[in-house]
């Protein structure tokens, strides 16, 4: 089982809070967290430089003489699609199991919130049978299905994201370590521009930023490519900095395009990431 009973209870509370519009809730079929140009009218605010002139409420200007911008609460469809990265790079340090737990938890929250949810596993060179659920009673079956998917395969995040470009607008959760040579950033932005609510759960292990010392021949888990490195203190610090910059880059990119970024540490307890990733 990916999720224990206490964890499911915690997720049920999270779903209930979202049904009642608690801050941070991201339930499908309900006002999204992002204020933008479509969806339910949320109110006015003063115009500031850089705002889209098309959002100016000219009627209000006629009434008040001031420039105001109309704000809308985003509406997304009541469905959740979880893109679950099961490639070989996820195999190390419990990243794979943590990713499955994130996916299962997000789906459970969606089902408990009355939404539909589905999971789309991906890994290069493998075909998975996606799963879809609509009732909370199916959480157990969902857990087993998500846990039972085989692991291993090459990078395939870009292709997986692109399959959703023609899907109906909804919420999309990408659970991955994002360590693909071809970044899935652009297709994610494209999804976002098509009105999807996108959440990126970035799963990394602590060990990933702390390589062992010595003369190493690193072998890429997905491509088999090798690289000889001599890890001294300086190299270790530089590599840890590269990992942090990689994460920070994704976080900034998500923020710039209205996507939510959640960093999930492998093997961390559910409480650490459920609020942001689910």
């Amino acid at each position: 089982m990916l999720l224990s009973s206490p964890e499911l209870a915690r997720l049920a509370a999270l779903a209930a809070a979202r049904r009642h519009g608690a801050p941070g809730a991201a339930g499908g079929g309900r006002p999204g967290p992002r204020l933008g140009e479509g969806g339910e009218f949320a109110g006015h605010r003063g115009y500031t430089a850089g705002d889209d002139p098309r959002l100016i409420d000219w009627a209000a200007y006629a009434r008040t003489g001031g420039l105001h911008i109309r704000e809308f609460r985003e509406q997304v469809e009541g469905s959740l699609t979880v893109l679950l990265d099961l490639s070989s790079s996820m195999a190390a340090w419990e990243k794979d199991r943590t990713a499955r737990r994130v996916a299962a938890a997000a789906i459970a929250v969606a089902l408990l919130s009355g939404d539909r949810a589905r999971v789309v596993p991906f890994a290069g060179g493998r075909d998975f049978e996606p799963g879809g659920w609509s009732e909370p009673a199916e959480i157990g079956e969902m857990d087993r299905r998500v846990e039972g998917y085989p692991s291993g395969g090459g990078p395939a995040a870009v292709a997986a994201v692109r399959t959703l470009l023609r899907a109906r607008r909804g919420r999309i959760l990408l659970v991955s370590d994002l360590l693909d040579a071809e970044s899935p950033g652009a297709p994610l932005v494209a999804l976002r521009e098509r009105g999807h609510a996108v959440v990126v759960a970035h799963v990394l292990a602590r060990e990933e930023a702390s390589p062992p010392r010595g003369l190493l021949r690193l072998r890429d888990a997905e491509t088999g490519e090798t690289r000889e490195v001599l890890v001294d203190d300086g190299t270790a610090v530089a590599y840890a900095r590269a990992v942090e910059e990689f994460c920070a880059g994704w976080q900034a990119r998500c923020a710039a395009h209205g996507m939510r970024y959640a960093r999930v540490v492998a093997a961390a307890p559910l409480a650490d990431w459920a609020g942001t990733a689910c």
Partner: protein, 524 residues
């Protein structure tokens, strides 16, 4: 030359190849699967110098670990390194300046002078003018000076005795006009008492008793007593605890067996007897039947048999009704080849029978049957002028018994113990491999498969100490007593033994292993 007290411990050296195998793995890059090289590609590749430094550190760790293992093994195995000290050529020169040589003195002196001047510049010369001045360890120039001062005199002198002093020399040159050797004689090594632990080594040379005394503890001088039939003399010698010291006293002039004793409280066993051979054939009293083979045998070994006497030393064909007052030999000629029986002093026990034909000298002498003996080796000393063999001791082997023979005629009479003894003991040491780190008694006899005595030996300039009395000595002892250090004059001891103490080896080995671990643990 390396020797080991516990050679089985050397098997632990197999750990070194194992370390080397591990080292190879450590020197190579460690294969590590990694989720992705995406971020590694943003870092520059390692500089070759850093990789080389890493490998050097691994090499150092291996060297330290191997050194540590080797030190531990050396300590456990009790390794000793015997290093022959470099020694310049040493030449003994004996010049006959007795009255009989006066007629040929110019030729003798001229030959000796040319010989000396032809020696290498670094040669060490022991020169003896007989009779007259002698000098040991001289340079060539100093030896020539001694020769220049020499003149023939009427004083008595024995060229052979003088030459015998130089048995440690690589070459002995004797300048004399004496005639060459007489017919072959056979020297018999007499049996001695079994209990010689207190006196570590005993020998007689040049009318001196040379004995190595050891003691386990205490600071008082060791009292010694030299007992002969005619009486006893006593003295004391300072012997440091746990060490050995050389006792050098005038030998009794009787040619009879003597006993050198030290107090029983100083040593568990405390005497050593030496059966000396006189410079001229002594008489020996014989009881029992008259036996031609026995008589010939005794004469051949330099003894003059005299029938009867109050205390017969040899009984032929019968056993005395009561134990003799002194050690005696009983010979049974009825066996064709004489068998030997021996009484030891005051024992009341029946005569101890030593196996038939165990005395090869009697056998050889009685039957003149040297063809049955295998010649092992001969060692020769020669006169330069006239060009004749002075002494030609020959070692034989018969049924595992060592025999040596030599020309007993004057002027060679003293070479029996001064040359042939050392040769015998050296051969015994070579053949029987006495246990290492033992300093052992001296004396002399042979019986059956085992030489039943031991000796202090100087051969080829090397001091040997051999114990072949105890058959257990031939096997590695379980508890080897501490080796006493022989306090011989420095120029006599020309080989050194260096043994790594086990404690030092353990500390050094563990230190090296810890250092190796630290080096290998040091992060680059």
């Amino acid at each position: 030359m390396l020797t080991a007290a516990a050679p089985a411990a050397l098997l632990a050296l197999l750990a070194i190849p194992a370390l080397w195998w591990l080292h190879r793995a450590r020197r190579r890059p460690l294969d590590v699967p990694w989720p992705s090289l995406l971020l590694w590609k943003t870092l520059p590749p390692p500089p070759p110098a850093a990789v080389a430094r890493h490998r050097r550190r691994a090499d150092l760790a291996l060297a330290l670990a191997a050194g540590g293992v080797a030190a531990l093994v050396a300590g456990a195995a009790g390794l000793s390194l015997v290093v022959p000290a470099p020694e310049p050529p040493r030449v003994g020169v004996v010049v006959d300046a007795t009255a009989s040589a006066r007629g040929a003195w110019a030729a003798i002196r001229g030959d000796a002078d040319r010989f000396l001047r032809g020696l290498p510049a670094g040669a060490v010369v022991d020169i003896a003018i007989v009779p007259g001045e002698s000098r040991a360890g001289a340079t060539v120039g100093e030896a020539v000076g001694v020769l220049d001062r020499a003149v023939p005199t009427d004083a008595p002198g024995d060229v052979a005795v003088a030459a015998a002093r130089f048995t440690g020399a690589s070459r002995v040159a004797v300048f004399t006009d004496r005639p060459g050797p007489a017919e072959l004689g056979i020297w018999r090594v007499h049996p001695a008492g079994p209990d010689v632990a207190g006196v570590a080594a005993l020998s007689v040379a040049e009318g001196r008793v040379l004995a190595v005394l050891t003691r386990a503890g205490g600071d008082d001088p060791v009292r010694w007593t030299l007992t002969t039939r005619s009486g006893a003399v006593s003295g004391s010698l300072s012997v440091p605890a746990g060490r050995a010291a050389l006792l050098d006293i005038p030998a009794p002039d009787t040619g009879d067996p003597f006993t050198l004793s030290v107090p029983a409280d100083a040593f568990p066993a405390n005497d050593a007897r030496h059966w000396a051979s006189p410079g001229s054939p002594p008489t020996v009293s014989v009881a029992g039947r008259d036996s031609l083979p026995v008589r010939r045998a005794l004469e051949a070994v330099g003894l003059v048999p005299v029938a009867g006497g109050a205390d017969p030393r040899i009984w032929v064909g019968e056993v005395p009704s009561s134990p003799p007052r002194s050690p005696a030999i009983l010979i049974d000629p009825a066996r064709g080849v004489p068998g030997l029986f021996e009484f030891d002093g005051v024992t009341e026990a029946p005569a101890l029978r030593i196996g038939e034909a165990t005395d090869p000298l009697i056998r050889a002498a009685a039957a003149a049957d040297l063809d049955r003996l295998t010649v092992l080796r001969s060692a020769r000393l020669r006169f330069l002028r006239p060009h004749r063999t002075l002494v030609d001791p020959v070692l034989f082997d018969s049924d595992g018994v060592l025999v040596f023979a030599f020309d007993p005629a004057p002027p060679n009479s003293n070479f029996s113990r001064l040359v042939a003894f050392p040769l015998l003991w050296a051969e015994a040491a070579r053949r029987l491999h006495p246990a290492p780190r033992r300093t052992l008694p001296t004396g002399g006899s042979i019986s059956g498969q085992v030489l039943v005595q031991s000796g202090l030996v100087v051969r080829d300039g090397v001091v040997w100490a051999v114990n072949i009395e105890d058959p257990d000595e031939l096997a590695p002892p379980d508890a080897t007593p501490a080796a006493p250090t022989l306090d011989l004059p420095s120029r006599t001891v020309i080989r050194s033994r260096s043994t790594l103490p086990p404690t030092v080896a353990a500390i050094a080995g563990l230190s090296l292993l810890i250092l190796s671990w630290l080096v290998s643990r040091t992060r680059p």
